[in-house]
Assembly symmetry: C2
Homo-oligomer: 264 residues x 2
């Protein structure tokens, strides 16, 4: 049996999240069914993190054990041939037997994307959230700075499944305006249920002038979810990267950024 | 009666092109119906150019005569409230009575957008075309250079409706790679039926090494459509801008780029 890890991009609006659930179409199920139709046996796929309904991925990582003569590159192509339109495996490699996509992850990076046009985006809000209000970016950045570091993030998470601790470390939180879009990039060692979307919703309240950036430390200390901003829509959220101690997908034929799609 | 011009963005995949046709949903019809439901009378809307089925617009221009007490800004908001999701009016202003969106246009600018990822884009090909093959960009640019200037473009257009002359002037034709995308920006004083998409398809053949850039002058001289590349899919094409001698939409509350959606 070979332990294989794969990097996946998907349109989350087509699925009820990552995790397999009876009666709902999930990304996990889509990948497992593709592998089953390819290899003729059921293969259980373990994802690095559960993305919620409607949340997209550019770099979800999953691992699974298979028995096949296909080399990594052939397996990657064959897997893509069996996956539905809305899921693509961008990289695949055989890894050490001990590798576990979820447990080994030392962190994750997410993108939250807003369109900041005056009128609703004609190309839809399937891949973004729309915010027509003027935003005060310096205020948002001041609030963001208060979130970086190690904190108890109970205030900024939905209850979800109980965990031992709600302390997490945010290593970076940047706001990047670009023409009529605003991106929030957040990286950390782990995220609670709906934490990224609540951070996005809270920073938006600050940007609109409805919440002072200076109350953020107090907000965190209160451990009271009702004091944070609303949860931003799933459509704007992308799981961009899962971070590991070992370097992954360095030796695949083409890296995610490495491939010159165009020779320039 | 006031002569009003409006700038429109739309998702072309929702429409059978710009022009009103019995039994098919068109952008023109959508705008006319929005105005009718707003003002209570039928208003005929004249577009600067007919976009085909599936072709998108970021800056289509249309003009129409109305009788209303609403000022430009209110009319813009009210129009957007009545337009379907896939059409947005980004700018609107009262203009000189002689202005005609189509006849006064001195040129247009289009974008053709490819995704150049190895595997099919998980976010779909509704707003782009997908080309997984490696492309030789210097060759494509050499071919593009042969198209700039005044030429008879019969070779690069579908028959469509007969015109007096197939001579057009391309003022700029640039290829812009960006990560895993490739954009083609083309500007000119006019474009024949499916000309931009045939240019895109032909440059792609050059990029793939199937057509030499040096045969382009001969191709143009032949006036033989069968010698050009295939017509690229409508989904990758955007009408970006209609150019006029007079400056348009300079005094609207917010320009198309002028609005600071985000204060940074």
């Amino acid at each position: 049996m070979r332990n294989v890890r794969v990097r996946l991009a998907y349109d989350g609006s087509e699925f009820y999240g990552w995790q397999r659930q009876e009666g709902f179409v999930s990304v996990q199920e889509a990948v497992e069914e593709a592998l089953e139709s390819l290899l003729g046996v059921h293969v259980t796929v373990h994802g690095a993190g559960r993305t919620d309904t409607g949340v997209h991925a550019l770099g979800q990582v999953a691992s699974f054990h298979v028995e096949t003569r296909l080399d990594d590159n052939c397996l990657l192509f064959a897997l893509n041939a069996h996956l539905p339109q809305a899921v693509v495996a961008t990289d695949l490699e055989t890894c050490g037997d001990a590798f576990q996509a979820q447990i080994d992850a030392r962190g994750k990076r997410y993108l939250y994307l807003w369109r900041t046009t005056r009128f609703r985006p004609p190309f839809g809000t399937r891949f973004c959230a729309w915010v027509p209000d003027p935003l005060d970016l310096p205020l948002m950045r001041r609030a963001a700075a208060h979130l970086v570091g190690e904190h108890d993030f109970t205030t900024l998470a939905n209850a979800g499944s109980p965990r031992n601790s709600n302390v997490r470390r945010i290593t970076a939180l940047r706001l990047i305006p670009k023409r009529e879009s605003l991106g929030m990039i957040v990286a950390g060692n782990g995220f609670l249920y709906k934490m990224v979307r609540t951070i996005a919703g809270t920073l938006l309240e600050v940007g609109r002038g409805k919440l002072s950036p200076d109350v953020v430390p107090e907000l965190l200390a209160s451990c009271d979810r009702s004091r944070a901003g609303p949860t931003a829509p799933a459509s704007g959220l992308y799981l961009v990267r899962v971070l590991y101690h070992e370097s992954c997908f360095q030796h695949t034929t083409f890296g995610p950024r490495g491939r010159p799609g165009v020779f320039s």
